[in-house]
Amino acid sequence: MDKQRIHTDPKHYSWLTERFSPPSPVAPCLLRSFWVGGLICVLAQLITDTGTCWLKMTARDASSLSSIVLVFLTALLTGLGVFDKLGKYAGAGTFVPITGFANAMVSPALEFRREGLVLGLGAKLFSIAGPVLVYGVGSSVVYGLIYALFIR
């Protein structure tokens, strides 16, 4: 009946799409980042427990091991092009854990490789990780100075 109107009237068309498209995607987005982010943390806990229980590592070494394994997996998946798809699906679920830090290094390294090994790959490796390290290390040094001079 309304077929003609849908095809010719943009206002009616947008009214229809608005009416029949699913409600704003906020809740599904949050849910996706929740379960993927949670699962990445569970994987990290599994690796840490493997380190302490079976490989007889200290707690600190085991948590380093879990960072290293997660970073390795992220580099591999980013290189294969899988991580970008996962990132599109899970949003903050993949970039808030350490996987996001690793992806932020690998992704530009891949992309800017053709601009050279030093100023392309080497420099772009830190285009996002750089600021994270600057402010992370910077604020920890500030805390260390305050702690050493006033609190300890």
Partner: protein, 121 residues
Amino acid sequence: MFDWLMYVKVFLVGGAICTVGELLVIFTKITPARILVCFIITGVVLSAVGLYGPLAAFAGAGATTPLTGFGHALCQGVKHAVEESGLIGAFTGGLSATAGGIAAAVFFGALAGFLFKPHSK
């Protein structure tokens, strides 16, 4: 031997921290890079005032895997190094506590850059 409850806590806390990041993505115009920077500073601050330690004890990797946990590791590393070797620890502690993750990211990042070709998006 296998502690199921711990894994439930890891999942819930880790997921919740990621959801906070997603809320920032959806409701503010902060770019992901800035969110990462905010998270790591938040981690250092929460750890410095003593709030993040109990969370990490409660939720394990659920608290230490997100970037706030990276900040926590930096902060606790600095604290222990200062207790052990004084003022110099403020400079040596942070990076030595997080060396594994950072060196792995540099090494595997460069390696992936050598081995793989960029993907068209």
